[in-house]
Point group: C2
Chain length 415, copies 2
């Protein structure tokens, strides 16, 4: 069933790959305008999704994610304009050289082709991904959560109408307009027409894609994140950083999950952590050595799997370690290689931590919350990769491109 | 059965990732020395493989590939020294920046981890891959063809002895010492311990890996390669380039498969092609328009699938096209996106060809035979990727690395 849709997207993406930056930006501004002009249709569709979600008893947090209003829609439209303002990676030339035989060689950035994006109940993803795909010259086949089917349908209608008055073919962004779960599997097998699968959701979705896809999958977005508090850490600063990393937005992948505290300072520092974070609603899971230093109603003994849990909530694991080596070993054993940091004033320890902790983002004296495309200067974000191939950490426009080798000779033959 | 082997390789690779360039190079020179010093053991083992291959009735070309002698072994050892001389990509810093908030950001190259390499009856691959893996800081689990089991076993023994007297753990390079085919499938599922699968062999092996692997696979090495002869091409030069691309080494993936000739020059040029290449043993498969221009005993009508065949032999497809557009369309429909070129003196056509043909290597006025790590300045080659993710075209040391983001703050928290 998806073959026809795949063919159409592939064909449209080939055309998109040749458009100028101005043509793509104009289409994006049309889209931003249309999202505001046609907000009524989108908000009406969204209201019906929200009503169904309430009737189905979805958790309030889920319903909040699902819900759009004028302000949120204006934000989404604003983000489309920000993507239009970003530099276009397509056509960029790099690693240019002339070989000893006179052959001119360069690499030139080209779009990846067609993205397959599978996501859950966040309607903003539909437009975020569409705008990033268009700017990077890629087609996209979107498969959103069934809870947002009406909202997505309305948004896609607005998007396709907006593209129809631009040089970008409306076929570039396709939407799988059915809640049938078998279509997810079909998308994962559509390898003649899709070049990369991006799952955006929980660990289960990522695992399903990895197990079943015949197309390369960008896995990521799962962060069991650590901060190691060294004996020389500035403790006041460490409290602020831990507070920020744990509480500023606990439901996201770069939020802190575990602190590892040097035994020399644990007795002094740990009670301060509990005192400082408890008012924000944080509860703690402490391994025995840490628990022995803490008597507080918010501190619980850590269970067997607690150090392998991505909390996504106001829970913080605490462990006392003998020093840098044990901290590095703990991280190697329990991290998902997303974002891990050291808080220290010992430069040699910072250097060893950077060298030996092999995570997508390694921090020295900063909150883990900066692992984000916008914070790291990419201007946008389509995923955070925790796999090792292609791109690692935040992915935006350039990470949705590949390159071709361009070789220009003067009638060269190989000897 | 491979789990233990995987764990050992992963652990050893972690150690290797921290070694200095000098430590890795010293190990490589030990290996090169040992290959020469212990050549007797290797050549004796190889002689027994060759004998079995003859008894089994393998084709002479296969037996030639399988066969080692003193000179070939010396070449293999020499290549190990060349890899030692290449720049080390590990630790390279790039895209360094300071964000407006003062956060220092850089990307730093790190090894991919552990490679799984599945190859056929070429014993040189064992040492080539081992040396490239060591230099790029990666572990490797090798699975060679069963025809070379004795040779590989002897080479690996020499390699592990050589590493034992170096700082590189002998566990870094593991060899699956069994012809059991079920172990290939097990390797493709060993995702906790292997980061990238590199198949080196025919289309069947690549397809098997793509279908069955839970680990990212670098597919490639299959080249249906085209040259388009434009109406303004320098015909004398074009003959030399076509001769080189077709006959210099017809059994490899960057050899020419099809020429597309502009109708304006076909009548004059095609008979010259046949005349020039027939003495080299080339036979031709011509579509009707081309066949109508050619009467020669080496010219046969093209069959239905001939333009979708990678010849790997002295066969050349010929098609007359109406011009650049038809040439680009034919390539889009039949190329494996490996290496395709244009021969022209019309700069606008060269530019359109570069922009619109989306192959790993796009050529202007040169033989397709240059798609090779050494020819393109990488100094070595572990595979030629025709997929779009991670790396495209020749892959060598840098293509076996990934990067980490290193973020150094002054107690930064996210606002």
């Amino acid at each position: 069933m998806l073959t026809e849709l795949g063919k159409r997207t592939r064909l449209a993406a080939r055309g998109l790959a040749r458009l100028s930056t101005t043509q793509k930006n104009t289409a994006l501004h049309h889209l931003a305008d249309a999202l505001v002009a046609d907000q009524k249709a989108i908000l009406t569709a969204n209201a019906s999704d929200v009503e169904s979600a309430k009737a189905a008893g979805l958790a309030p947090a889920m319903i909040d994610r699902l819900m759009l209003n004028e302000a949120r829609l204006a934000d989404i439209a604003h983000n489309v304009r920000l993507v239009a303002d970003l530099p276009d990676p397509v056509g960029e030339i790099f690693e240019e050289s002339i070989q000893p035989n006179g052959l001119h060689i360069r690499k030139q950035r080209v779009p990846l082709g067609v993205l397959g994006v599978i996501y859950e109940a966040r309607p903003n993803v539909t437009i975020d991904v569409a705008s990033i795909a268009i700017k990077s010259g890629n087609g996209a086949i979107l498969r959103g959560g069934s809870e947002t089917l009406n909202t997505n349908r309305a948004m896609i209608a607005v998007l396709q109408k907006a593209l129809a008055s631009s040089d970008v073919s409306a076929d570039v962004i396709q939407f799988i307009d059915s809640p049938d779960r078998a279509l997810v599997l079909e998308l994962l097998h559509l390898r003649d027409y899709v070049d990369m699968i991006i799952p955006r959701g929980g660990a289960g979705l990522h695992e399903f894609c990895r197990e079943n896809s015949l197309i390369p999958v960008i896995t990521g977005g799962i962060g069991i994140c650590h901060l190691f508090v060294d004996d020389t850490a500035d403790q006041d600063a460490a409290l602020k950083i831990i507070h920020n990393a744990k509480t500023q937005r606990p439901s996201v992948c770069n939020a802190l999950d575990t602190i590892l505290v040097h035994q020399q300072v644990a007795k002094e520092f740990l009670p301060r952590v509990v005192e400082h974070l408890t008012p924000a609603g944080v509860t703690f899971r402490a391994e025995p050595k840490a628990a022995a230093l803490l008597q507080h109603e918010t501190v619980f003994p850590a269970g067997e799997k607690d150090f392998d849990t991505e909390w996504l909530s106001l829970v913080l694991g605490i462990k006392v370690v003998s020093g840098l080596d044990e901290a590095i070993d703990h991280i190697a054993a329990h991290s998902t290689a997303h974002s891990d940091g050291i808080l220290t004033r010992t430069d040699a320890h910072a250097q060893r931590f950077i060298a030996e902790v092999d995570s997508a983002a390694v921090y020295v004296n900063a909150s883990t919350r900066f692992t984000d495309g916008t914070e790291l200067g990419l201007g946008a974000e389509v995923a955070v990769s925790t796999q090792r191939l292609h791109a690692r950490g935040p992915m935006a426009l350039r990470e949705l491109t590949t390159y071709k080798w361009v070789i220009v000779g003067d009638n060269h033959v190989r000897a």
